[in-house]
């Protein structure tokens, strides 16, 4: 009892101050104190995030390097892993299942490998996003930084991973007769758009995963379903040849299929625009802008709540 009344007294009795009797909020306002851990405005948030760009890049590179640092072959695995992946898919879908309906062998192999790599980029961005906040609670509870740094950094890590895979992809494309040409330049805008889209997804799932960590268990199944529905290892158009064309159009407008098809179009000689759905570039831009912007705002809205256990 005596202790609790002592609270104010000790601080005040020896030095009377004009601030006596003010409420905490008034006192804070008078001396220009701000609420700790409050969410900044959207513009201010973007500014803070820009200030942390070096951290975002360094964190993504550190994660990438740390991945294989214990292996004897070290960073060679960055290229070896996608190569082995491509081999496995080739073995199963190219040799055993003969899924290359409607495409010649020279087109199908690079078609398959491109599909696998491009989809893996989206898939691993989502999976990393789910754990971006919930798996780094220690970091979130110890240091100040805009929390969006984490999902963005993880998406960036996946982009760098994909760039390693592109080395393998180029070798495969050339090996099957698609030589570098001007159309290869289209790879750059495709990668930029897909990266924007993936970052948006990572942000959305980072917020969802922070609230419901169970998503980390559920998402692999969702992603696998999405993979099989997006024509990673078969041509949607050829599979649905005897159905109305609009069904194939709708399926091909799904973002994963859009980015895969654009990448194939850019890279593979025998994969012309007849394989693309109408308005494909507009759809690609639309997905990228809407998901990136929407995801960012959605993530920012819960900024002050990340870190609650």
């Amino acid at each position: 009892m005596s202790e609790t009344t002592q609270d104010g007294k000790v601080a005040v009795t020896d030095r009377p101050s004009p601030d006596d009797g003010m409420t905490a909020a008034e006192l804070a306002a008078k001396y220009g104190l701000s609420v700790s851990g409050a969410r900044p405005g959207l513009v201010e948030y973007v500014r803070q995030l820009w200030g942390r760009r070096h951290f975002i890049v360094a964190f993504s590179q550190a994660k990438l390097t740390a991945q294989y640092s214990q292996a004897k072959l070290g960073q060679l695995w960055q290229v070896a892993t996608p190569l082995l992946n491509a081999l496995v898919y080739f073995l199963i879908f190219g040799l055993i299942l003969n899924a290359d309906r409607g495409l010649s062998r020279e087109v199908y192999i690079p078609f398959l490998v491109t599909g696998v790599f491009v989809f893996t980029f989206t898939q691993s961005s989502v999976m990393a996003g789910v754990r971006a906040v919930s798996g780094n609670l220690g970091l979130v509870r110890a240091l100040h930084f805009p929390r969006a740094s984490l999902p963005i950094s993880f998406a960036l890590q996946q982009l760098q991973q994909l760039l390693f895979s592109m080395i393998v992809l180029f070798v495969v494309a050339i090996g099957f007769g698609s030589y570098p040409s001007l159309s290869w330049l289209l790879i750059v805008p495709v990668l930029v758009l897909q990266f924007l889209f993936n970052t948006g997804l990572a942000l959305i799932f980072a917020r969802a995963g922070a609230k419901t960590p169970d998503l980390a268990q559920l998402m692999p199944f969702v992603m696998r379903t999405w993979m099989y529905a997006s024509g990673v290892m078969f041509s949607i158009r050829a599979m649905l040849a005897d159905h109305p064309a609009w069904i194939a159009d709708v399926l091909q407008w799904n973002p994963a299929a859009v980015y895969m098809d654009l990448m194939r179009f850019a890279l593979i000689d025998g994969y012309g625009s007849e394989h693309l759905p109408p308005h494909v570039w507009a759809v690609a831009c639309g997905w990228a802008v809407v998901v990136a912007f929407g995801g960012f705002v959605y993530f920012w809205k819960a900024e002050e709540r990340y870190g609650r256990g």
Binding site: T4, A11, S36, A38, T65
Partner: protein, 258 residues
């Protein structure tokens, strides 16, 4: 004199609640989890989410230049209160107002064991919000302070190869490289061997001089007495006493039976 008392941190009826999933019965079986989900009440307690009320209505005002100690037995909410002041843990209700950005001393969570000490210095610095130039300027200072290279070129080896003492020294050196407005130290004093402890205590004293206010959590009454001129005593999440160091410590020692 009265004008000189500028508040830097104001806590107003602060409550912090942790929510722990699936800890209600202590049974982790799948059927228990399922029945928890199926029992759809809006009530958290019914769905097996257990609440831990770690800080209960704490209010105080800290002024510029004060060094404040936080004491209390284990689990009394000291570290939680510190994190809430730093704005790292969202409050259930109540508010904390601060001047500038309070920072916890510590970067452990940002460092990666698989990376070299060198890269960890850079990564840790960036995580604390230092610029690349600041890190470049301080780099040698950090490495020298940690003493990692005293026994050979260890800074270019991955951190997982360090002994636990060496890793702790490097972590402290990185964390202490930045100046803070409101500095919070959570029992960081006792790391490394004796000579390093001495060095780190000096460094903390230096940081304290530059900082606007300092909060120190410690179980060591001596270091509280040396450092702080005011002490908050927390017990079971409630502020039990707030006053000059000597008075509060006397009561606290009586309470703990020393």
């Amino acid at each position: 004199m009265a004008e000189a008392r500028v508040p830097t941190v104001i806590a107003d009826e602060l409550h912090i609640v942790y929510r722990v999933n699936g800890a209600r019965t202590g049974k982790g079986s799948a059927t228990a989890a399922l029945s928890r989900i199926l029992r759809r009440g809006s009530d958290d307690a019914k769905r097996g989410v257990r609440k831990v009320h770690a800080v209960k209505g704490v209010s105080f005002t800290a002024y510029r230049g004060e060094a404040i100690g936080l004491i209390g037995s284990n689990g009394s909410g000291k570290s939680t209160l510190l994190r809430a002041i730093a704005g790292l843990l969202p409050a259930e209700s109540g508010r904390v107002y601060t001047n500038g950005q309070p920072s916890l001393l510590g970067v452990n969570a940002a460092l990666m064991n698989d990376l070299t000490g060198e890269r960890n210095v850079i990564l840790g610095g960036l995580a604390m919000g230092m610029s690349r130039e600041q890190i470049r300027d301080r780099y040698q200072e950090i490495v020298d302070f940690s003493g990692i290279n005293e026994k050979g070129d260890f800074i270019t080896l991955p951190m997982r190869t360090y002994s636990s003492g060496m890793a702790a020294r490097l972590r402290f050196s990185i964390a202490a490289a930045k100046d803070h407005d409101v500095l919070m130290i959570d029992e960081a004093l006792a790391t490394g061997d004796r000579s390093f402890q001495k060095r780190s205590e000096d460094r903390i004293r230096e940081l304290r001089k530059k900082a606007g206010s300092v909060f120190l959590v410690s179980h060591n009454n001596k270091s509280i007495r040396d450092t702080c001129d005011r002490v908050l005593w927390l017990e079971r999440g409630e502020l039990r006493m707030d006053g000059p160091t000597d008075e509060v410590l006397k009561e606290y020692e009586k309470f703990t039976g020393k």
